[in-house]
Symmetry: C2
Subunit: 433 residues, 2 copies
């Protein structure tokens, strides 16, 4: 336990320091080779990587449509209900974000429009690893579906000779995804960025992944003009603000649900009660004992801080300074503080709003800025699947009036041809009269 | 003149090829040194660069407030009117983009919100060069003002021992900017990214610039966690689609108003009439003769293509393939085609809507994606000065119902602690009853 007010600003800063993550030059070099291979050899490179990295003896790339359609038969009724509900809630929340074009007249005869265009082709990456991640399909796939993107590619690795997990397929089916590629890592990112015989080229790539995936996304965004990626990825983190009446078991459970994500996860508790912090420490030890990912969670807890603050108001200041991906407010009444929330990715209000609700099913998106990016970056939202452009339509009399603004500015900026494009038209208007 | 249908796809692609731009390793190395100097030495480094690069004998950094306030006295009535009008139109169009928070219940007892937060501190860069660019101040400053950002820093270089241009100061004054820094290039970007004694540190940096500015922006975005920049910058470009009744003088004037921007600018004409193309060629020669930036425009024209298409519909296909920053439609009736517009940054409809209207005063933003980025990137808009975050609030009964979605998904993903954070609460609810 760290007593915030008794520490120097150096110790305070160290308590909020994130574990260092820097991509090694080795990761970059490997990714560059993979990118070049996929660009040159297409499907062949992907298949050879599936053998090498995913231990598949007879890899394939595309999942046949009837396999996607038949997926729900392999699911328990409970899991199907869960996926259906998560899908419906995420859809409801993001549907409300559908953008509306704007059209207005800025002065007589001058009409300006802001228009939204869905990004035409998007790629979604879903990591493999120890368990399938249907929630990751939903959190990205629903948005692609709502945007009306013409092409949606989902890529995910399959390990060994297992079949692709039916929960992944069913979530993809609900999202209307028909192009599902069994491929992972930097190779899958390269395939979506360059296109191959089986994989359509996309304009923007979404999705989390390991250091190879992250590096490959950065490389394609830097080197292919127009290629975009969702946001910088980093280790996951939670900050809990709890008051003197909070339930230490709930606090410990929330801290652990973040800690089990990865050894580089970070969890921070800010509390105004020494007794609650001590009880939380005990609850952490107790709950940790039963977790299947106990070792991961233990490593993450080593990066983490339980901090005693003077007041809940001070906790919000410290939280704004840290900028947490997830911010949980276990407060009797959070209302007076909600306006003080700053630099958080997603906020969970009250004793009965655990982070796992947002991770899976409340409706908010679980793709969030982390590692201090939440001061500037947004939680994933529907507009990330759109771009805006503008349109202006000006009448003759509109241009005549507007020229009084354009010409002196073009003159001040020394741009003759800019002025000429207007005055040549004014002359034509005069000659007509 | 290139006849589109008679050419191979290779020649077609070559006609739409953009001039290569790649930052040299030398630019990168210089920028890294400048960044390190400013980070270490702050104001001292900026002042020494102002002497070295801007030939200032007695440089200063901050423009005093009374100088900003007195700026309009030095402007002609015409230029003041122009700046006032451009400011008002840009403000009107972007004010309509002010975002509204979203709040809804996805299922009983589960309330989700999407909230907008202004990015707290933003930096605006305005290039110097041969002429002052008050329009660049307006196109960025109005948005910062409307967002309500707490800190807005504007940096612009001043050459030699001249005073900073009053048109820049007056535009800044209208936008409510009080922190105005006389500093340019990579040094100014570093100052806003790291902060110095005189320059507040910002979270996001906007604005165009030369290769040093662009490189410095990329470097700070890559190396400082959470630091954001507006969009990748590239050479400016226009594509004009004109029909058989279009005015060749207007076409030539629009092509030249783009060409005068820089030798690497690109201009493309797509027209369904050979005669109009020939008349445009003649008009280009005639108009070019009188331009003060004749040499620049001539060089740009060398990168450019006048293309004969079969039909206006085909022109829209070619335009979508190119993805122009500016798209001008000199068509008798553009209406049937407006839905076919794709991958354009800003569209100018009709014979009396020249690009210079949007560059200065119609109300739309002149900061646009270029170099093929318009398939994925947006024209600068008010949301670029905001970030979104989400909030969820769940009741006991809400969580009880939602747990049927959370628990099977946590189980499928092998995340025990995620499930535990819910079940520990369900138990508490049960014990209360």
């Amino acid at each position: 336990m760290l007593r915030w007010n008794e520490e120097s600003s150096q110790v305070q800063a160290a308590a909020l320091m994130r574990p260092a993550v820097s991509a090694s030059a080795k990761v970059e070099a490997i990714c560059k080779t993979i990118l070049a291979n996929v660009k040159e050899q297409g499907d062949k490179a992907l298949l050879s990587m599936a053998k090498e990295f995913d231990n598949r003896s007879n890899p394939r790339l595309c999942v046949p449509l009837d396999e996607i359609n038949a997926s729900e038969q392999a699911l328990s009724a409970e899991l199907k209900y869960a996926i259906d509900t998560a899908y419906a809630n995420v859809k409801r929340f993001h549907e409300a974000q559908l953008p509306k074009d704007i059209k207005l007249s800025t002065q007589p005869g001058v009409v300006c429009e802001l228009k939204y265009q869905a990004i035409e082709a998007v790629g979604i990456y879903v990591p493999g690893g120890s368990a399938p991640l249907p929630s990751s399909v939903i959190m990205q796939g629903v948005l692609a579906q709502l945007s009306g993107a013409k092409t949606v590619v989902l890529a995910t690795p399959v390990q060994g000779d297992k079949a692709i997990n039916p929960a992944i397929l069913y979530a993809a089916k609900l999202c209307g995804i028909t192009t599902l590629i069994e491929s992972g890592g930097a190779g899958a990112i390269a395939a979506m960025a360059y296109g191959t015989e089986s994989v359509p080229k996309v304009n923007k790539i979404f999705g989390p992944g390991n250091s190879f995936v992250t590096m490959a996304k950065q490389l394609v965004a830097q080197t292919i003009p127009g290629m975009a990626i969702d946001m910088p990825a980093g280790p996951s983190e939670v900050l809990v603000i709890a008051d003197e009446r909070a339930n230490p078991e709930f606090i410990a459970a929330d801290l652990l649900s973040q800690a089990e994500h990865g050894a580089d996860s970070q969890v921070i508790l800010l509390c105004n009660s020494e007794s609650i912090i001590e009880q939380t420490q005990q609850a952490l030890t107790r709950q940790l004992a039963n977790l299947s990912r106990k070792e991961t969670a233990e490593q993450a807890l080593a990066n983490s801080s339980l901090i005693l603050v003077d007041s809940i108001a001070q906790a919000f200041d410290v939280s704004a300074q840290y900028g947490p991906e997830h911010l949980i407010l276990q407060l009797g009444d959070a209302t007076p503080y909600l306006d003080k929330v700053k630099n958080a990715g997603s906020v969970f209000v009250g004793d009965y709003t655990p982070e796992s609700a947002g991770d899976y099913a409340s409706g908010t998106n679980h793709v969030l800025p982390t590692y201090g990016y939440s001061a500037t970056y947004s939680s994933l939202n529907l507009l990330d699947f759109f771009r805006t452009y503008t349109v202006q339509t000006i009448t003759k009399s509109g241009l005549t009036q507007l020229s009084k603004a354009i010409l002196p500015l073009a003159d001040a900026e020394g741009l003759d041809a800019h002025a000429n494009a207007v005055s040549i038209r004014l002359e034509a208007i005069k000659n007509e009269q």
